[in-house]
Structures are given as structure tokens and as C-alpha cells.
Amino acid sequence: MSAGKILVVDDDPQIRRVMRATLVGHKYEVIEARNGDEALTRIPAEMPDLVLLDLNMPGIGGLETCRHLRSGSDVPIIVLSVRNTEKDKVAALDAGADDYVTKPFGMEELLARIRAALRRAPTSPDNVPHALATSDLQIDFDTRRIRVAGKETRLTPKEFDLLRYLVSQAGKPVPHRELLQAVWGPDYGDEPEYLRVFINQLRKKIEPNPAKPKYILTEPWVGYRFASGGDSPNQ
């Protein structure tokens, strides 16, 4: 049984060869696409569990592909790029990527990131709330459904995990590192830009006024805190 189906999107054939050889060696099923268009046509038919996406490709670029992909799918996306500035990372995360790896990379690191992306955040029934309800926000953590001001809202798995972790610690400030490791995995912790982007996206989706958040609060120099607005989460 395969460990998961991975779509490798890269215009460089050598990189696709290396990825295929390595990933197949680690029991993953590998499919390939040479550019964004091909990736977008293959995904509905193949339903991969994860996408490894190059940014610098001919045709519609990686960012555009990422946005298209994200608009119709929750599949985890790891962007692989030769660019290494924070601006590039934030742009990719904004476009819907879950993670960003700078080329060239060591294969162990990439494999760890793939494992982290495929794994759901750990859920121990003891401290995880099942539901949360306030006047304008209803979350059912078991069915992963969210209603904001009465309207069904869709979160990506990473956004959902982030929100669930914050709610489980409601009222307490959660440090950046703890939050990153809880949602992305134990190898993470030095990527505060990830949190900035994902918290922003979450606020846009669940806050009545994202500029003045009332649920997800910033704790300067520390991290973030979930304030349930007087309502305590149902345990």
C-alpha cells in the first residue's frame, strides 16, 4: 500500500527524475506534470494527496497555479523554489501554499516536510473541543464545519488545524514556536511568516472585522490568543 500519491510539478526533467526515484523508494506513488496547466488538468482525475509545486515555470507560473488549485481543493501544497526571500515565501503562502522549501534542498528535509504535510495535526480527545458556538461563529470540530454569521465557510486543513489548536488553548497566549510545531510538525518553529499569513487568512474568514479581530488576538512578542468572546468552548 502506498504512503500517498504525490504530484510533482516542475519544468525541469532532471528534478522530476530525482523526485520520482526518491519518492518511489519511500513508498509514495508519484505522478508528474511539466507545468501549471498540466497540473491543473491532472489533479481532478488523479486526486493526489500532496502537490510539490515549482514556482518558476513557463506558462501560468507556480503562484497562479497555486491559487487556481487552492480555489477548488484542500490538497496540501509544498512550494519548491530557488527564491529565498521572505517576500517570496509570503507570496506563496498567500497564494495558498502550506509550506515552502528553498532549492536546493536536502532530501531528508523534504521528506520530513512531506510527512508533516500529509499528517493531520494530532488530535487527542482529552483537550480538543468538539464544538464552539458564539453569536456569529459556530464550529463543529468533529465534522470540520464552520458557520460564520450563519453562512457555511470553508477552511483549508492547515487553517482548520490552526484554529482548532488556538481554540483548544482558548484564553491562553500560544507562543509562535508552539503553534508552528503543533500545526506543521516538530521540525518547524522558525517560520513566523507562516503564522502571519495563515492567521491573516483565518481572520479574513472568521472575524466580523479582520482589521479589529475579536477572536484571534495578537499577543505582541509572544504569539496569538483565542478569545471566545465570553463564551467558553464546550468540552
Binding site: D12, Q14, I15, R17, V18, E86, P104, F105, M107, E108
Partner: protein
């Protein structure tokens, strides 16, 4: 005394002929009373003065008085006048004829003058139109000179422009304005209406742009000055447009250079990605020690190539002034702590002293870049000092800046080389073949510090060690993003 022109002579004869014809007609053909004759003659004189001018009218008046007296005032056939009443009539006739001539001639003069002004204004307008449509400064200058000739009706025009020391001419070769006169600095126009020659300074806002020389029938001084002013505006405008075009071209070339750099970075890193991914994938499995050693070498060298690509790119960006700094108020203590958190594992064998002055002001820096500088200085200190020797990092404030220093106990830098360690590709003599490096690290650090408006320097005592320091601007409370 100027000689009469042929046209003038003809007009004078014509005026006399008209008077003679009227007198002869009334004397021979049609007998009417004297008043009718006198009025007819007055009418003729009025016509002559308005068509031809005052001189013709005056001559006609005198002839008319004589003819009227001789043929119509008794005793007829003589210039004598019997009746004193007729003296009065004759005098009245003469006075009327002369006054009428004068008034009419003056009106005609005004009309002519107005016509000249109208043509001049039209000329200036047409010139200003030309100015707005001309392209580059060179073609504009050439265009202007030919337009000036056409519009002002002069024979030849020349424009000398100071900025490029060029002269643009239009008109027949034999009437050229002399170079020396054209190129001399002058504050006042030189106008010689007799010879039909003028040189007018072309100035804009008190700044001399050049001179405009004209030969041929000249317009008024006011028009000459207006033309010079228009030329100044036209040339300056064309020059400004040309400069704007060059700035745009330079900008595009910069954009192209950046795109080229990005493409280059991508093209180098793509094969490196395959190599590194492949070899680390192999390293992840069970390997014999010999295989593992060889694969490790491949992996390390791929990393080294990648660092070199990064350094070259960074160097080019620093040199092109294309570092995109995102400055924020930053605590230097925090920057040092963050750098050490990353760097400390590599120097666990070194005693490390961190000396931070209390109450350091915040600095206004791009913290990523400044951490890079700190890392570079630490890296250098480690490379150029013996294993296990101590390192010191310190930060203090002074002269409105925060100064960060990294000190080692290495062999130091000979004085002759101290000035050059920040030069691109410079490697110290002693270490050139012993210590790995590209010779770009310190040059990049210098570029980054200077882009922040700071300074980087080294003090060193051979045998005692080196201290590398850099200064950073203090945050003043106004963010420049």
C-alpha cells in the same frame, strides 16, 4: 540723399497726371462751377494720399492749387487772383488738401504697422507651435533655425548651443554669421539694423543656453527677444524630454539586468537542486563508509557551489544598489541574540564573550541583512583565528549611532592589507591558500552596512587579533518604509 525709387517716381507722375486729367476735363469738356472742380480735386488728393502716401498727395495738392488758379479762378489764364474772396477759397483748398493728405497717410501707416505686427505675431505663434512638436534636442535645434528663417523672413539664421558646443545653421552660405561672434558670451543683444545683422542671447531663467544669429531684413527688437525666448524654451523642453527618455532607458536596462540575474540564478540552481536532491537521497540509505564519504563530498560541494551563486548574486545586487531594505526599528541586542542562536552550534568550542552596553537605543535596519553582516563577521573571526581561541561581540552607542564589534585573537591583519579587506575578491596573502572563501563576504557586508547609511572598519594588531566594527543608524521615530 536717398535716390527716388522707380516705383516712387511713377507714383509721383501718376499723381500729377490725375490732377492734370481732372483740370483738363473740366476746362475743355465739362463746364461746371468752381466749387465742383475744387471738390473733385480734393477727392482725388484724398485717394492719392490713402493709396500712395503723403509725398504724392502733397505734390498733387500743389499741382491742383496751381491748375485751379490758372484755369478756373479769374483772371483765367494767369496765376493772378483778383477777387480777395478767391484767395480765401484757394487757401482753404490748400489747407484742406494738405490736412486730408496727412490724416489719410497716417491712417495708412497705422494699417501697415498693424499688418507687420500681425505677421510677427503669427510668426511667433507658428514658431511656438513648432517647438511643441519637435522631438530630440538636436532635431529641435535644426528645426528651430529653419523655422526662424521662414517665419521671420530673414535670409539666414544660426543657433549656437553652449551645452554641446554645436552650431545649427540655415540659409545661403555666403551670408553666414561668424562663429566667433556667435559663440561669444553676451548679456545684451547685438542688433545692427543698417547691415541687417543681429545676435541675440538665448537665455532661460537667467541661464545662458546659447546665441541666435540672424542676417537679412530684421524684425523689431521686441520680436527678436521674443524669438530668442521661444528658442530657449523649445531647446530646453526638447533636452528635458531627451533626459527623461534616457532615464527611462536606464530604468529598463536595470529591469532587464535584474531579470537576467534572476534567470541566471534559476539556471544555476536548478541542476544544483537535482544533484543535491539525488545525493542526499542516496545518503539517506544504508551505505559503506567509503561511499558515504564520497557522497558527503558531493553534497558539500553542491552546497558550496550554491553559496557561491548566492554570493555572486548578492555582490551584483549590492553593486547595482539594488538591495531592497525593509527597515524597521530593531533592538541590536535582539539581533545579536538571534544571530548567535543560529551561529552558536558551530562555535561551541570557543569561549564567547558578549558585552552589551545598557540602554542601547533602537536602530533602524533591515534585521535580516544586518544578521547576515554579523554572521559574516563571526564567520571571518572563526576562520582567521586558532581553534578554541576566544571571540568577543560587543555593542555600544556613540555619536548618534550604535556600533557593533566582533573581535578575535587571531594572527591579525598586516596594516597594508587592512584597507583592502573590504575589497571584492581580496584575500589576505597569508591565508589565500589555506582558508576557503570567495573573497566576497566582507565586500557584501560593507555594501549592506553602507546601504543602511553606516560604516564598517577594522582595527588590527598583527599577532594580537582583529576587531571588525560597523555602525548603524539610530531609530528616530519616523519610519521610512
Amino acid at each position: 540723399m536717398p535716390r527716388l525709387s522707380g516705383r516712387r517716381a511713377l507714383q509721383l507722375i501718376g499723381a500729377l497726371a490725375i490732377v492734370a486729367a481732372i483740370v483738363a476735363f473740366y476746362h475743355r469738356a465739362l463746364h461746371v462751377n468752381n466749387t465742383t472742380v475744387a471738390l473733385t480735386l480734393l477727392l482725388a488728393i484724398l485717394g492719392i494720399s490713402s493709396w500712395w502716401g503723403l509725398a504724392e498727395a502733397a505734390v498733387a495738392s500743389v499741382a491742383a492749387v496751381l491748375g485751379f488758379n490758372y484755369y478756373f479762378l479769374p483772371p483765367i489764364g494767369t496765376f493772378e487772383i483778383q477777387d480777395p474772396q478767391n484767395w480765401v477759397a484757394l487757401a482753404a483748398f490748400l489747407a484742406t488738401a494738405v490736412t486730408v493728405s496727412q490724416l489719410s497717410a497716417r491712417a495708412k501707416g497705422r494699417t501697415l504697422e498693424a499688418e507687420v505686427r500681425r505677421r510677427e505675431t503669427e510668426g511667433l505663434y507658428s514658431l511656438s507651435q513648432t517647438l511643441l512638436l519637435s522631438g530630440s534636442a538636436r532635431t529641435a535645434s535644426q528645426d528651430l533655425v529653419s523655422r526662424v528663417v521662414k517665419i521671420l523672413g530673414v535670409n539666414t539664421a544660426a543657433f549656437y548651443t553652449k551645452s554641446t558646443n554645436e552650431t545649427f545653421r540655415w540659409g545661403p552660405e555666403n551670408q553666414l554669421v561668424a562663429d566667433a561672434q556667435l559663440q561669444a558670451d553676451r548679456d545684451e543683444p547685438l542688433i545692427d539694423a543698417q547691415k541687417g545683422f543681429a545676435i541675440v542671447p538665448v537665455r532661460l531663467g537667467g541661464q545662458a543656453i546659447g546665441n541666435l544669429g540672424l542676417a537679412g531684413p530684421l524684425p523689431s527688437a521686441a520680436v527678436l527677444n521674443a524669438v530668442a525666448y521661444l528658442v530657449a524654451i523649445g531647446v530646453e523642453r526638447a533636452r528635458a524630454m531627451e533626459e527623461a527618455g534616457q532615464a527611462e532607458a536606464a530604468r529598463r536596462s536595470e529591469v532587464l539586468k535584474s531579470a537576467l540575474l534572476d534567470a541566471l540564478a534559476h539556471d544555476f540552481r536548478t541542476p544544483l537542486t537535482s544533484i543535491k536532491a539525488a545525493v542526499t537521497s542516496l545518503l539517506g540509505g544504508e551505505r559503506s563508509p567509503a561511499d558515504r564519504e564520497l557522497m558527503t563530498i558531493i553534497n558539500e560541494e553542491a552546497d558550496r557551489l550554491n553559496r557561491l551563486v548566492a554570493e555572486v548574486l548578492e555582490m551584483v545586487r549590492v553593486e547595482a544598489g539594488k538591495l531592497h531594505l525593509e527597515k524597521h526599528p530593531s533592538d541590536v541586542t535582539e539581533l545579536i541574540r538571534a544571530t548567535l542562536a543560529e551561529f552558536r552550534p558551530a562555535i561551541l568550542d570557543r569561549p564567547l564573550e558578549v558585552r552589551l552596553q545598557q540602554g542601547l537605543p533602537e536602530t533602524e535596519v533591515d534585521s535580516d541583512f544586518i544578521q547576515q553582516v554579523l554572521k559574516q563577521l563571526l564567520d571571518n573571526a572563526v576562520k582567521y583565528s586558532p581553534p578554541h581561541s576566544p571571540l568577543t561581540i560587543s555593542a555600544r552607542s556613540g555619536e548618534g549611532r550604535v556600533i557593533v564589534s566582533v573581535a578575535d585573537r587571531g594572527s591579525g591583519i598586516p596594516e597594508a592589507e587592512q584597507m583592502r579587506v573590504f575589497d571584492k575578491f581580496f584575500r589576505g596573502r597569508e591565508h589565500r591558500f589555506r582558508v576557503p572563501g570567495s573573497g566576497m563576504g566582507l565586500a557584501i557586508a560593507k555594501g549592506i552596512v553602507e546601504a543602511h547609511g553606516g560604516r564598517i572598519w577594522v582595527t588590527s594588531e598583527p599577532g594580537q587579533g582583529s576587531v571588525f566594527s560597523f555602525s548603524l543608524p539610530v531609530y528616530r521615530g519616523e519610519m521610512v518604509s
